[in-house]
Amino acid sequence: MEPRIGVFVCHCGINIASTVDVKRVVEAIKGYPGVVHAEDYVYMCSDPGQELIRSRIKEKKLNGVVVAACSPTLHEATFRNTVSQVGLNPYRCEIANIREHCSWIHTDRDKATEKAIKIVKSIVEKVKLNDELLPISIPITKRALVIGGGIAGIQAALDIANAGYEVILVEKNPSIGGHMAQLSETFPTLDCAQCILTPKMVEVGQHPNIKLYNYAEVEDLSGYVGNFKVKIRLKASYVDWSKCVGCGVCMEKCPTKVPSEFEMGLTTRKAIYVPFPQAVPNKPVIDRENCLYFKTGKCRICEKVCTFGAIKFDEQDEFVEEEVGAIIVATGYELYPIEKIGEYGGGKYKDVINGLQFERLLSASGPTGGGVQRPSDRKVPKRVAFVSCVGSRDPELHKPYCSKVCCMYLTKHAMLYKHRVPDGEPIVFYIDIRSDGKGYEEFVQRAQEEEHVTYIRGKVSKIYEDNGELVLLAVDTLTGEPLEVRVDMVVLGMAIVPSPAVYELAKKLKIQIDANGFLTEAHPKLRPVETLTPGIFLAGCAHAPKDIPDTVAQASAAASKVLEMFSQKELQHDPMVATVDEDRCSGCGVCVTLCPYGAREIEVKDGKRVAKVNEAKCEGCGSCIAGCPAGACQQRNLKDEQLVNMVKAVLE
C-alpha cells in the first residue's frame, strides 16, 4: 500500500504551542516521505478539529493519520473513532505525543520543536507499516464475583444482582457487614449504622441472585476478562449450617473465652461463635485456633448440647470453582496498630483506645450497651481526649497519607460522648480539620458552636499514665503554649491501612498495589474504579481510605462498570497483541514463563512444541517479544521492522 499519510498537529491551546513551534513542525513534516498532507489546529480533539481530520481523509484520500497531540492514553480512542467514521481502519491512526513527552517537559523552544518533529517522523514511520486490524471478540460470562462483604461489597453485589445478574459474594469472616457493622452512628447525619446497614445485609442474604460464600477466601484465579475461573476456599466452620437453626446453645455452653474481634477486644466471645447478633448468615463457626477440643482433644461440649447434630469436628476446608466474567475487589481496611506508636504507650495503656473501640463503647449493641465507660475500670470518663492523625501524614515514621475519615469521626465521637456524658469534656487535638464532604463542615461547626467541643491545634507528643489519669504532652500552636492535659481516656484516630490479605490477593488476581499497599486504579481521574487488569474493578477502602458515602458511590460505580460489560454481547479486545510465527518458534517456552497475563502456552502440533497466544488474555505488553530468543514473536503494529524504522527516524 502506497502510504498517503496525513499529519495533524494540535496546539492544545497553549499547552503545546507555547513551547513547540507548531507551524514549524507542520512545515518540516510536509516533505517527509509518505506524508501527503500536514496542518495544525488549536484544539484537534474538539468537534471542528475532528471534522477537519475527517474531511482531509476524504479530500486527500489519506490511508494513514498521525495526530501530534497529547498522550495516547487520553485521546487515542477519540481519534481512532474519528478516522473510522470516514471508513479508515482505526489502527491506521496513531498519536504522536508532543505534549507529555515534549512541550510539558522542555523549556527551550527551539530544541523542543526539533524533538517534536522527530517524534512525529517516527510515528509516521510506524503508521506506514501499521496493518489494518479488527478488534478481537471474546465471549462473556455474565456473572460477577465480589470479594469482600463490607459495605462496598454489599452495595456492589446488590446493584449487580438487582440488575438481574448473578453475583458470587466471598467474605472471609463468618458474617458480612465489615467495619460498618461495628459503627454506632454515622457522620454527619448521626444515622444509626446498624439501622441502615443490617437491612442491606439481610437483602444480600436473601437475594435470589446472590450466592454468598461467607467464611471463605479466594484461593486462585485463572482465565481472563469475561471468562474468569475462580477457586474459592470454604474454610471449615465445623458446623453444618444446613442443620443449624441458630439457637445459640452451643455458644452459651462453650467454655473457652477469647477476645471478640467484633468488639475490638473490649469483651470476649466463645470459641464457637457468631461475631455479632445481627450477623448474616446467623450461623456459628468454631475457631479452630482457640477451640479446646482442637487444642487438647477433649471437650466437645457443643457437640453434646446441639440437638440438631450440626457440629462436625471432622470437617475439612472445601474448594468450589465458579465461572465469572467480572470481579470487584472490596477487601476494605484495618486500623494501623497502636503498638507502633511508642510515644503514646504502644498499646500498654488500657484507656488509650482506637476509634473502632470507641464506636463499640458508643454502640447500643456494644459491651457497655452504649454507655461510655473506660475499659480499665468501667468508670465513666469525665474528660476524653481525641487525637487525630495518629500514624497518618507521617512519612518519616508511619504512613504518609491522610486517613480521610478521622477528622470527621473524632468530631462525631466528641459529639456523641457529649450526648452520653453531658458533663463530660471532650478535647480534640488536630492539625488541620478536613471536612470536605456534604454537610461535613456544618457538622464540625455544630460540634464547636452547639456542643462546645474544645479543639486544640497541635499534635500530641507523648501520652503516659499517672495516678489513674492519662497525661498528654501537647501544645496549642495557635496560642504558642505548651500544655499538659490530664484526661480519663484517650481515643486515637489511627491511620487506615489496607486489609493485610490484599497483598496475597492482588498477586493472585494479577492486579497492582501501590507503595502503601492499596489497590491501584487504572487512571486516577478517568478510570478510578478499574484496575489495569481488564474485568477486575475495585471499590471502597481497598483502594484508598474513604468514608461511607464515597465507598457506596464507588461500589455503585464499579457495579455499573460491570453492568456496562454485561450489557454487551461480546467483549472487544484491543488487537495489538503478540503473534507467533510458527515456522520460527522452537517451542522453548520462555514466553510462557515471561507472560504476566498467562496468555502464552505451549501446544504440541505434529509432535512439536509450538507457542501460542491467547489473544483474549494478551495485553500487548511485549515481554514475550523482547524475551523470545528465536525472534519468533512479533506484536501487531509494533513489529521489529517498525521499531527499527522509528528509531532510525529519530536518530536521523
Binding site: 511508642g342 504502644g346 500498654k348 503516659y464 499514665e465 499517672d466 495516678n467
Partner: protein, 287 residues
Amino acid sequence: MKIFYYPGCTLKTQARNFECSAMEVMKLLGYELVELNRWNCCGTVYSLASDDLIHKVAPIRNLVRVKEQGGDKVVTLCAMCYNTLKQANVFFNSDQEARDKINSFMDTEIDYEGDVEVLHLLTVLRDEVGFDNISKKVVRKLNHIKVAPYYGCLLLRPSTVAIDDAENPSIMEELLHALGVETIDFPYRNECCGTYNTVSAVDLVIDRTYRIVGLARNLGADVIVTSCPLCQFNLEVRQKDVKERFPEFEQLPVIYFTQLMGVALGVPTERLGFELNHIKPKVLMEL
C-alpha cells in the same frame, strides 16, 4: 576477657563511683575493662553542623587509639561519651569525603577506616555477658525495692545510635529484672533532665528534676538508676534546689546501674563508691 574501655573526663572525677562500680562488677563477671591509653576528651556533645568537621576529630582520635592498641571495639559507660563517639563513627562511615578530610587532618595517626565498634556497657552486658548469666550470679535479694530506670536522652536518640527503642526501651528493665529487682513503669525514663543547662539555666534543670524525680516517687520508686553522670548530677544534686523551692518535695537516691549491680552481685558496698552519692541509697547500703 578484656575489653577496651573509654572513660571520659567525668568518670575520673565526679563519677568515680560509676567507674569503680563498673570495674568491680565486670571483674566479678569475668571481664576486664582495659582503659584506653592516651585517650582524650570526646567533646561531650556531638557537633551537628554540616560544615563542622573539626569537632569530629576528637572522638575519632579516640577510636584511632583503639585501633593502634589492637582493638576493634570500645565500651563506654558515660552516655554522653557513648553518644558522641558513636555518632562520630556513624558519620565517619557515611561520608567518604569527610572521612578522607579527617584522616588527612590527623596526619600523625594511622588512617581510620571506621571499623571500631562503639558499645555501651549495657549492650555488652546483654549481648556478650548475657542477662541470664548475670542473673545466676545474684547473691543479694533485692526484691524489696522498686527501681525507676532512667535512660535519659543519649542512649536512645538519635535513632542512628540508639541502643534500644527510643520510646519504649527495655534493656535497663531487663537487666534490673535479671538482678531480681522490681521496676516501675516509668514514663519519664526517656525524658531529658535539662543536661548542660545546669550551668547557665539552672531553673530549667530544677523544673525537670522536680518532675522526673517527683513522678518516680509518685509511682513508688525507692531509687532511680541511670547511666549518665550528668543525668545523675542533675537528678540528684539538684534535688537540694528543688527542695528549697518545694519544701514538700521528698528526696530520692539516684545511682548508677553498675552500683545496683554491685550490690546484687555481692560486691562489698564500700567498694561501690556510695560516698560520692549525695543522697545515700540507704535501702541498698544497709543490706
